[in-house]
């Protein structure tokens, strides 16, 4: 009975790959056959087939090669192909009868048709450069995304869902783009604006808001495994937060993502590298590190590199390279030697293989120590540029300037020019500009003094030798030294690029690269719609899932490149689609729980950070655009000391006082061996390894956190205080509360339930003032003593409840 039920569900589900019954159609090898071969055959007959005579099925040449007169694929007499004989054989079946993965009947039929049609091979879809496919029959003015999505919906004889109501849509898009609900004023303006472009204007406002970069940065920090500690052994503090601030700042100013990538991989190798470019290379240094007594440096040189090259694979290529560390990849065409060629790009960075447990695990650069400090610094640089521009004009007519002065000026960088300008013995000494230059130099020097250290990448002048490591063991280098090189299945290294990390970045961002744009745009889609077009964002290889909408993914990837890798533009495109704007309610008659058809809008539980930020924001406590050293909100005592070595400098957790307590969650201190429990409770990763997709669990411990954690009680108390101040009527207060958290008013049932709770609690606290006072004493922020204690306590409880409910913690 149970099995029967299971089978029924499986059958009516949406097929993930197109096993079609249409017999005349030509089989699409890359999308239909290759996934089967990879999953069921390649473990033994794949690229890693080592024996000389081993049968391999990963290329046409191999599959049609004679093995004592027998052919896996017999092109002359397809029916005699060993593949067909064996998959149907009962005596000598393939896969063998004891193999864990067996072929289904539909898969056998498909293999039959493929071999009979000639057994043609093609490259795996994601290894071929994406192209835009123009859809025929364009409906007037239809959004490009909706054309792709609508086509598939029509195949299933369904239409888009009705549009979400405007309030829901405003909340949804605001959470997706900025990680917070809409502020009441812009929301009201949007709702009042009946104009055709109202939504677009609202979206633009969000894209330009400084919250945008803070929210979008989180996904990147998960992927690159950003943490404030070294991550291994003592798990000591590490100088790195300027990198995090740089990510926020760069996303806010919409730095094209190809440059965003390039600076991170190779900013130090760029000509006249700027401070920002250097800070960005913190990415290369993000691997967890150790200085455990007894650790062997060569072992960690290897491990650090493994970590970097494998993270590189996940973040940019959407491929797992880990298999190829020890042997040729079983599924994807990646020879072990190419793993080590790729590793060679990272093997010559100058830091030692062990961190010495030091905060400044060099090389380091000095950079502004917070986001406001970055802003001030940037302004000084703008002023400097203006001053130098003026100076250039003056220099032409300046009589005191000698030919040498002109020459020196021409070759000097901005810093030297300013020095020259400020030099009392220099040619500018008599000008007004000179005095301004002195003042500015002083400002710059003062600013620099407050700079802080951050880990950066530098290459050794003499590169380290890289060799293949047998079975991935650090003490078994073998073969000739390897030059840095890329994975050949993914195209060619750009001819004019240097064989270093900069060349590697050029390769990644070249228009020919088949994966980078697809992988990135898929993750951008994922954070907008909840799931990627490829549901395995960490795996675009043969074992990964096929895209739900292949042509759409490719169109977006190409558009992304052609737009100049413009993140904001792509997000605007996505959120203005009907696909995004439709209602997220589950629809009757459509059996698609994972929403692969995109027949409804996105909905899911919000991330840990958003859940916390929303409450702080609603209460007015939230501190945005802070940056700087990671903040430490309240945390139950003893969590770190119960784990840590006595010599660790992160064994004691001292909660911050004052405003730092309320910094946006992105800035919360990230100790990799023990992150803040309110983060991990809601599925935030440890950041010890790359995470491009968080799980979304639903547990009873989350309930405890939502209702009992100190900061949540505090934010509820402060928010309750705000409601009591801002409105005199309880109904009005509840409207405001729902307005903030849900962008709408409560319905009748919700209102009745909340008012009932308020009444019960008012009664209860009026009988026990002490307990009301106790509740109101939670948290360090000051609290308004002018309020009625009973009323305040009762309202605090109502607010906690609504904050913990699905009204607040879901995207819908």
């Amino acid at each position: 009975m149970r099995c029967g039920w299971l089978a029924v569900v499986l059958i009516v589900g949406i097929p993930t790959c197109g096993v079609s019954a249409d017999k005349s159609r030509t089989v699409d090898f890359a999308r239909e056959v290759l996934p089967i071969l990879s999953d069921k055959c390649f473990v033994c007959h794949g690229p890693a087939g080592e024996a000389r005579d081993a049968l391999r099925l990963d290329s046409f040449a191999e599959a049609t090669r004679s093995h004592d007169g027998r052919y896996a694929i017999n092109t002359a007499r397809p029916a005699r192909s060993e593949i067909l004989v064996r998959i149907h054989s009962t005596d000598e079946p393939m896969p063998p009868s004891d193999a864990r993965k067996q072929l289904t009947a539909a898969e056998k039929t498909l293999l039959d048709r493929w071999v009979r049609q000639g057994g043609a091979y093609a490259k795996h879809w994601s290894f071929v450069r994406p192209r835009k496919v123009e859809l025929l029959g364009r409906r007037g003015g239809e959004h490009i995304i909706d054309r792709f999505v609508g086509k598939r919906l029509r195949q299933q004889q369904i239409d888009f869902a009705e549009a979400a109501d405007l309030r829901t849509l405003a909340r949804r898009v605001s959470l997706v783009l900025t990680g917070l609900p809409p502020d009441p004023k812009p929301l009201a303006a949007f709702l009042a604006d009946g104009g055709q472009h109202a939504y677009r204007r609202f979206v633009d406002g969000l894209l330009e808001h400084s919250r945008f970069g803070e929210h979008q940065a989180r996904y990147w920090l998960d992927a690159v495994r950003y943490g404030d500690t070294h991550g291994l052994h003592l798990d000591n503090r590490r100088a790195i937060f300027p990198y995090r601030d740089w990510v926020v700042k760069s996303l806010n100013r919409n730095l094209p993502l190809d440059e965003f990538i390039t600076w991170q991989l190779a900013g130090d190798l760029m000509t006249d590298a700027t401070l920002e470019q250097l800070v960005a290379t913190g990415f290369v240094r993000m691997n967890p590190s150790t200085a455990e007594g007894g650790a062997i440096p060569a072992e960690f040189q290897a491990k650090n590199n493994f970590d970097r090259v494998e993270t590189f694979g996940t973040v940019f290529l959407g491929l797992s390279l880990t298999c190829a560390r020890c042997h040729t990849h079983k599924f994807d065409p990646i020879p072990q030697s190419e793993y080590y060629s790729l590793l060679a790009f990272f093997n010559s960075t100058a830091e030692s293989s062990m961190d010495g447990n030091k905060y400044e695990y060099g090389p380091v650069a000095r950079a502004p120590a917070s986001l406001p400090a970055w802003r001030a610094w940037d302004e000084l640089l703008v002023t400097r540029q203006r001053l130098l521009n003026e100076a250039v004009k003056r220099l032409r007519t300046l009589k005191s300037a000698t030919a040498d002065d002109h020459k020196a000026w021409a070759t000097a960088d901005s810093g030297t020019r300013l020095k020259r300008l400020a030099d009392p013995r220099g040619p500018f000494a008599t000008l007004a500009l000179h005095k301004r230059a002195i003042v500015l130099s002083r400002h710059l020097a003062t600013s620099r003094k407050s700079f802080t250290s951050t880990l950066v990448a530098r290459d050794l002048s003499k590169p380290r030798v890289t060799r293949l490591l047998e079975r991935g063991e650090y003490d078994r280098p073998t073969g000739d030294p390897l030059q840095p090189g890329i994975l050949t299945v993914l195209g060619e290294f750009p001819a004019d690029s240097p064989r270093n990390r900069l060349g590697l970045a050029r390769w990644l961002t070249s228009p020919e690269h088949p994966l980078t744009a697809r992988v990135l745009i898929n993750r951008i889609w994922q954070r907008t719609f909840g799931d990627g077009l490829v549901r395995t964002p960490e795996d675009f290889g043969l074992q990964g899932e096929q895209p739900t909408h292949p042509a759409l993914l490719d169109w977006l990837a190409v558009e992304f490149q052609e737009s100049g890798w413009d993140l904001k533009r792509m997000l605007r495109l996505m959120v203005t689609s009907r696909t995004f704007r439709q209602s997220s309610s589950w629809r009757e008659g459509i059996e698609d729980p994972a929403n692969r058809l995109l027949a409804r809008g996105p909905s899911h539980r919000l991330d840990a950070e958003v859940i916390r930020d929303m409450g702080l924001w609603a209460s007015g406590l939230l501190v945005e655009q802070a940056g700087g050293e990671g903040a430490k909100p309240y945390q139950p005592s003893g969590l770190w000391s119960a784990l840590m070595h006595p010599g660790s400098n992160t064994k004691l957790y001292v909660a911050d006082k004052g405003r730092r307590q309320y910094h946006r969650s992105l800035y919360v201190y990230w100790k990799r061996t023990s992150p803040h429990p309110m983060m991990t409770l809601f599925d935030a990763p440890s950041r010890e390894s790359s995470c491009v997709r968080r799980s979304r669990t639903n547990t009873s411990l989350q309930s405890l956190g939502l209702l009992n954690e100190t900061q949540r009680v505090e934010m509820a108390r402060v928010l309750a205080g705000r409601l009591l101040h801002e409105a005199t009527d309880d109904g009005d207060r509840l409207d405001r509360l729902f307005g903030l958290l849900a962008s709408r008013k409560p319905n009748l049932r919700e209102r009745t339930a909340c008012m009932g709770l308020l009444e019960t609690l008012t009664q209860r606290y009026s009988e026990s003032l002490d307990e009301a006072r106790q509740l109101l004493s939670t948290g360090r922020s000051s609290h308004a003593t002018t309020l009625n204690v009973v009323e305040h306590a009762a309202w605090t409880q109502v607010v906690i409840t609504v904050l913990a409910s699905d009204v607040s913690i879901l995207l819908y």
Binding site: L232, S320, D475, H604, P636, G638, T673, P677, L707
Partner: protein, 497 residues
């Protein structure tokens, strides 16, 4: 169909398709589905792939690497070789850590402790005087002298034995068990971790040791703490009584049901259930932690230390109470075994922390009829060297990390009682064959060296006893079907009843 069952059906269907394509492995899912849809009281021994011999696992983890020389692996011949250099053919060019690599000599360091032979069901077992209580349960223990690992330093080694990989990022043993078997008691977490107090809090522990890696994060170990709330955020805020929470939850349920009415999303219903579970846990956990009902006799068994929250003894008593309440997966971490110098002082204190409680746990489970279905495992991430680190005297010495052999014991849960397994050479340096000649086990996916137990073999055996085939409990991540034992692991059939 009752409403709760209906909720479950929706939920599991949702999980099956995997909202985030985080779908469970087919085997695990089919089993979980089966269990969820069965009535309460279904056979919890059914296991995932075969009948489980152990309903639950209690893992006593000695972090830092206890000295097998001074506790379990009796080497009388070393007495005569005090201070002599370790013979080259014994070390055989094997790597040693950076801490002793530059030491001029590697002097042989016999244990200063007296060993006594205790009868078991086999040829008897030698136990050090540091473990007098544990020695009294010798007939229950299966003592494996030939456990080994490749990792030579703490962080990689402990990560390796707990997650099957030296590099962070993989799910822990406990998470795999939770993923494979689910929970038997919905009012308590299915996987509970405790940290026992020590006088030598050396070496760090990491969340990853009970973390979920790429498995859904609800399989992570839940800390049962001796300080503050036993489970994080368990207590209501000050000024909030249990009846207040009831009113809140009733209101919350209305709000969530309204959300369900709008969205028809079954996960919303599942969340209502989780809020109710939390409410019940607020009662069940304090009941669990309340030892007032334990008899005087029990405290005599575990020792008075069991009355002090956070001691190893208290953790063991909690472990038994958790086991009684259906918690499947319990781990106690005891730090302080990393004795590079002053080993006698440190190990004497460490043994005092654990000895009586280990024996008490075994006896207590036995007298309650629970030992046969409870697997108890005792061990660390590696052993310690035959040679001395730093200054050597008859009375004082230190030992470096030693991965090539160390002792682990198991009891109950389908393990043969009262046997020893595997042996080491005269220096307890190499695993040896029955003639005492060094073996050099180099396990491959296809080969296993009889007489040895790699940490993957240990993990394969723990899963096996729990009803799980370690080769079949997989989770696809980045295109690969990952498992706890990677491509390795051999079930130690010789140890199983």
């Amino acid at each position: 169909m009752n409403p709760i069952q209906h909720d479950r059906l929706d939920l599991t269907r949702r999980q099956l398709f995997g909202r985030g394509a985080l779908g469970l492995g087919t085997a695990a899912m089919a089993q979980l589905l089966g269990r969820d849809l069965q009535a309460e009281g279904a056979d919890i021994r059914s296991g995932l792939h075969h009948t489980a011999k152990a309903k639950r696992v209690i893992y006593l983890f000695m972090s830092g690497g206890p000295s097998h020389h001074d506790l379990w692996d009796y080497k009388p011949k070393m007495k005569q070789m005090f201070g002599q250099p370790l013979p080259d053919h014994i070390r055989n060019g094997q790597r040693i850590t950076g801490m002793t690599a530059r030491q001029k000599t590697l002097p042989i360091c016999p244990s200063k402790y007296r060993f006594t032979r205790h009868d078991n069901n086999d040829g008897g077992v030698w136990v050090s005087e540091l473990l007098p209580h544990t020695a009294t349960v010798a007939h229950e223990l299966c003592v494996v002298h030939s456990t080994f690992t490749e990792a030579i330093n703490h962080d990689p080694a402990i990560t390796y034995i707990q997650t099957g990989s030296q590099v962070p990022g993989r799910p822990s043993l406990g998470a795999w068990l939770s993923y494979g078997l689910g929970s038997m008691n919905e009012n308590l977490p299915g996987y509970v971790v405790m940290h026992a107090r020590t006088s030598f809090p050396e070496q760090s522990l990491f969340n990853r040791l009970w973390g979920t890696g790429f498995l859904p994060s609800d399989h992570q170990g839940i800390l049962l703490r001796s300080q503050g709330d036993p489970v994080l955020y368990l207590s209501n805020p000050k000024g909030v009584a249990r009846r207040d929470r009831r009113s809140q939850l009733d209101t919350l349920a209305v709000l969530n049901r309204e959300q369900y009415r709008r969205s028809v999303d079954p996960e919303v219903l599942a969340r209502i259930k989780q809020h109710e579970l939390a409410y019940r846990m607020q009662a069940s956990v304090p009941e669990l932690m309340d030892l007032s009902g334990e008899s005087k006799e029990t405290f005599e068994l575990y020792g008075e230390a069991a009355r002090q929250p956070g001691t190893f003894a208290a953790c063991c008593l909690n472990a038994r109470r958790l086991a009684e309440r259906g918690v499947r997966n319990i781990q106690i971490f005891h730090r302080g075994w990393d004795a590079h110098g002053g080993l006698p002082r440190e190990h004497e204190s460490q043994c005092k922390d654990i000895d009586q409680a280990c024996a008490a746990l075994i006896k207590d489970l036995r007298r309650r009829g629970m030992l046969d279905e409870t697997l108890v495992v005792w061990g660390g991430e590696f052993g310690r060297t035959a040679y001395c680190q730093g200054g050597l005297t008859r009375g004082n010495y230190g030992r470096d990390h030693h991965p090539r052999c160390f002792t682990v014991w198991m009891a109950g849960g389908g393990i043969k009682p009262g046997i020893t397994y595997g042996r080491t050479d005269d220096y307890a340096y190499n695993i040896a064959d029955s003639d005492g000649q060094p073996l050099d086990p180099q396990p491959t996916p296809a080969t296993w060296t009889p007489g040895s137990m790699h940490i993957h073999d240990l993990n394969a055996t723990i899963l096996h006893l729990s009803g799980i085939d370690h080769r079949r409990l997989t989770y696809r991540y980045q295109g690969r079907d990952f498992r706890l034992t990677d491509v390795h692991g051999h079930v130690m059939a010789d140890l199983i009843v």
